[in-house]
């Protein structure tokens, strides 16, 4: 089914909500104004719609396959990746110093959203390569950067992130892969890594694995992990490919979704040891990973928004065509199901969640740009703190909602939704991984409770609530029925969030188990309210600009109103659960299950 990048909404979110003009006013960002952003998004859309989207179904029907340690990707993926690389799209956000385009994150984010929406499986390769590039640029030596960064950025090679092992998923302290120092400064790496996305494939000449491993004598736990570059093929000083390294794909997984993405088990060192190069300093591997992880988690949040939007577009198309049952208001014969209130409710729910989550994510992307490029260190630091608070929200909330929205997408299709060939089922299956990888929802929740709320005593969280309160004042000034309804819903939502922050601060130390039992609901509450906040801002702007584009802005106002009426009321329930459910969770002893 055809995908159409929702350029109007993306440009609206970028310009009006996230503040593109603020970003382009930053030092070094002057070239990326409205005209450029629009041109970039339009060409990105053409590529994603024309080249990538048609491969999505093919990827599901004809996934990657493994034979004799070699992986063959879905027919068409290799050519599409070559076009992607040629188009310069891998380098969107990376420094011009290494051949990237250096675009602001705010402009790169819609491009990523479109690519994910076109095909989640295909887009995973560039996404993981981004992670490898970031890790190298953050911590790698000049020698490593010069050898590997440019070819990763150009798309000539791809990259992988190797953290997980059979006994170490959420708990990276349990990583056992080891790296033995050699006389020439390199290391020999041994171990097994699992769930390695695009760990092996046939699309490029080399694959650059970033691997977490322990050096002998390293401290226990997370403080003893180092980061290594382990290329599939060694690279000579002149840049040419050398010997095949001792890193082999022993199998790929047979999965529920994102089937075309080869999920590899990689065996390092079965034949004497894989040559690895230390990134940065020994024992600081996890620290480097965490710097890169913000970008990776944000990217997965974008995947959620993307697949939810893809599912929504498909559901709307179906609902317009499928004719069943008379209109409740009376009709001569049966009507298209889009006329029925329950179908409208489902579609509006999908639309409201996608638009709200997109708005929040783009706002976060702009904050990240300010955090990187603002002249004043204090401004950079304060924006970075807000961005870091929003990252688990964008990841956790957008992904959880994407599964629900993809499920609604199937529901709108009725029986046909359950039939694979219709295509709705694929979005539902593809979405299911999003709450699991790159840190499960619980891990995001632990992060937002532990690191992002308790650690600074709720300062950033409360400051965001303060900004929501300012928006409520703006709503009060608008004074029409829609803004009034939104103001009431938003203030109740904010109150629920503030109450929950207080609960966490009060009980975080004394009853940690009760607090963490409610952590996921706290994450969902934060997402619900913060996305509602953006929809409130969108409502007012849409009202002010109504005459410019009545169809678009009217839809925006009504969608925002629906968010206020039907989505925000969940806030109170979540707050209650956060406060209450910890006790019974604690009470249920393990042997009673």
């Amino acid at each position: 089914m055809r995908y159409q990048a929702p350029l109007k909404d993306m440009l609206f979110a970028m310009q009006d909500l996230a503040g593109l003009s603020t970003v382009t006013a930053l030092p070094g960002m002057e070239d990326y104004g409205q005209d450029t952003a629009q041109a970039v998004l339009e060409e990105s859309a053409k590529f994603c719609e024309g080249v990538v989207a048609p491969l999505n179904w093919e990827g599901d029907k004809n996934p990657s396959s493994w034979k004799d340690r070699v992986v063959t990707t879905t027919p068409g993926f290799k050519e599409a990746f070559a076009q992607f690389a040629e188009g310069g799209w891998q380098g969107v956000i990376h420094p011009t110093e290494f051949g990237g385009q250096g675009l602001p994150k705010l402009v790169a984010t819609p491009c990523a959203e479109m690519l994910h929406a076109a095909s989640l499986s295909f887009a995973l390769c560039p996404m993981l390569t981004d992670g490898a590039i970031e890790a190298l640029l953050v911590a790698g030596s000049d020698e490593l950067k010069n050898k590997f960064a440019a070819k990763l950025i150009s798309g000539e090679w791809t990259g992988t992130m190797n953290l997980t092992e059979p006994q170490a998923g959420s708990d990276l302290a349990a990583v056992r892969a080891r790296a033995e120092p050699q006389a020439d400064g390199t290391y020999k790496v041994f171990g097994t890594k699992i769930f390695i996305t695009y760990g092996e494939h046939d699309m490029t000449g080399n694959i650059v694995h970033l691997v977490l491993a322990r050096v002998p004598g390293a401290p226990e736990g997370v403080k003893g992990i180092s980061l290594f570059v382990v290329p599939k093929f060694l690279v000579n000083d002149d840049g040419s490919l050398g010997a095949r390294n001792d890193a082999w794909c022993v199998s790929i997984e047979h999965k529920l979704g994102i089937k075309a993405s080869p999920t590899a088990v990689l065996q390092f060192g079965d034949n004497g040891g894989a040559v690895g190069y230390l990134v940065g300093e020994e024992n600081r591997g996890l620290e480097y990973m965490f710097i890169m992880m913000n970008a990776a988690r944000f990217a997965v949040g974008m995947q959620g928004i993307a697949v939810a939007d893809r599912a929504y577009q498909k559901a709307v198309t179906f609902a317009r065509e499928r004719v069943q049952s008379r209109d409740l208001a009376g009709s001569d014969g049966p009507v298209a199901i889009i006329h029925h209130p329950d179908v409208k409710r489902m579609l509006l729910t999908m639309r409201a969640h996608v638009e709200g989550a997109r708005a929040l994510a783009y706002v976060a992307a702009a904050i990240s740009d300010v955090a990187h490029h603002a002249a004043e260190p204090a401004e950079r630091a304060s924006n970075q703190a807000v961005y870091e608070f929003l990252v688990p929200v964008v990841k956790g909330f957008s992904t959880e909602m994407s599964i629900e929205m993809a499920s609604l997408g199937v529901q709108v299709h009725g029986g046909m939704g359950f039939i694979e060939e219709t295509g709705a089922a694929q979005h539902y299956r593809d979405a299911r991984i999003l709450t699991i990888y790159e840190g499960t929802t619980a891990i995001q929740a632990n992060d937002i409770v532990g690191r992002k709320t308790l650690r600074d005593k709720g300062v950033v969280a409360k400051a965001l609530c303060g900004r929501i309160a300012m928006t409520e004042k703006d709503l009060a000034a608008h004074n029409d029925a829609d803004c009034t309804a939104m103001r009431l819903a938003l203030s109740q939502g904010r109150a629920a969030l503030e109450e929950s922050i207080d609960f966490i601060l009060a009980n975080g130390k004394s009853d940690a188990k009760a607090v963490y039992a409610g952590a996921v609901h706290y994450l969902k509450l934060a997402g619900l309210v913060l996305c509602g906040w953006q929809m409130a801002r969108a409502m007012m702007i849409a009202q002010d600009r109504m005459a410019e584009d009545p169809a678009f802005f009217n839809a925006k106002v009504v969608t925002a109103r629906f968010y206020a009426d039907a989505v925000l009321p969940q806030a109170g329930a979540l707050a209650q659960s956060i406060r209450q459910a910890g006790a019974s969770t604690n009470r249920m002893s393990v042997d009673l299950f």
Binding site: A39, V40, G87, G88, A551
Partner: protein, 249 residues
């Protein structure tokens, strides 16, 4: 060899157009606009000629509102070297555009002018032909294959009966058809480079061209809604109905 390529900003081919309620035309407010698809093929052909070493400079031209600059930037992102916008807020019909292009041909002296065979908004298929007549240049239309050598262009044309190959001396006007090439996807680096390429803005007055429309649109309406078919008892009834009701024979 210099090539002039004309590009038009039109309603995007994906958009389901609606007629304005006052029936004066099609609704274009807030509707997605793009480069005319045939013009993309024209720009692509010019760029291919440059990559082959045949052309040395590609100048993209567009006539219309100031937003046509976006279309010209796209042309430059595909590979045009510079662009000219003839800015005009009034309706521009093919004859007016042909006259504007004629004055630019006189100014730029290109060896070839390449245009899309028609625009998807008006489907006129006139501008290239009128330009050739006004500028006294040979013309080859509906090109599906183009070779340039020794000051001549050898062009295969799509015609009703199949394909016809003509040869013309340069300078000449060529209009392009669907099968000539497949336009490339624009790369991100080229989008950024295009921002720095020169874009000159002129006006019809500055070129001394009278662009007043010669045709007046009286009414634009949607095609009639398709009604149910009927069965006829015999051929005589069929013929009668075609004559008196459908009025097609």
């Amino acid at each position: 060899m210099k090539i002039l390529v004309a590009v038009k900003r039109v309603v995007d081919y994906n958009v389901k157009v609606r007629v304005k309620s006052d029936q004066t035309g099609v609704e274009t407010a807030n509707v997605k606009m793009s480069m005319n698809p045939f013009d993309e093929i024209a720009v692509e052909e010019a760029v291919l000629l440059k990559e082959k070493g045949v052309a040395t400079e590609i100048v993209a031209v567009s006539c219309g509102v100031s937003q046509c600059q976006e279309t010209l930037r796209t042309a430059m992102a595909i590979g045009a070297d510079r662009a000219i916008l003839v800015e005009c807020n009034e309706e521009l019909q093919p004859l007016a555009v042909a006259k504007l292009l004629q004055s630019l041909v006189a100014r730029e002296q290109p060896a070839m002018v390449i245009l899309g065979k028609q625009a998807i908004d008006d489907d006129c298929n006139q501008t290239g032909q009128m330009l050739a007549a006004l500028a006294r240049l040979p013309q080859v239309t509906f090109a599906s294959k183009l070779d340039v050598a020794d000051g001549m262009a050898t062009v295969a044309r799509e015609v009703d009966g199949g394909s016809e190959t003509l040869q013309v001396t340069l300078p000449a006007v060529v209009t392009v058809d669907l099968r000539l090439n497949e336009p490339r996807y624009v790369t991100l680096p080229n989008i950024m480079k295009a921002k720095k390429k020169p874009l000159e803005t002129l006006t019809p007055a500055a070129l001394g061209v009278d662009v007043a429309p010669r045709l007046k649109t009286l009414k634009v309406s949607e095609p009639p809604v398709r009604s149910a078919g009927i069965k006829v008892p015999d051929v005589a009834t069929l013929v009668a109905k075609l004559r008196t009701e459908a009025k097609v024979i």
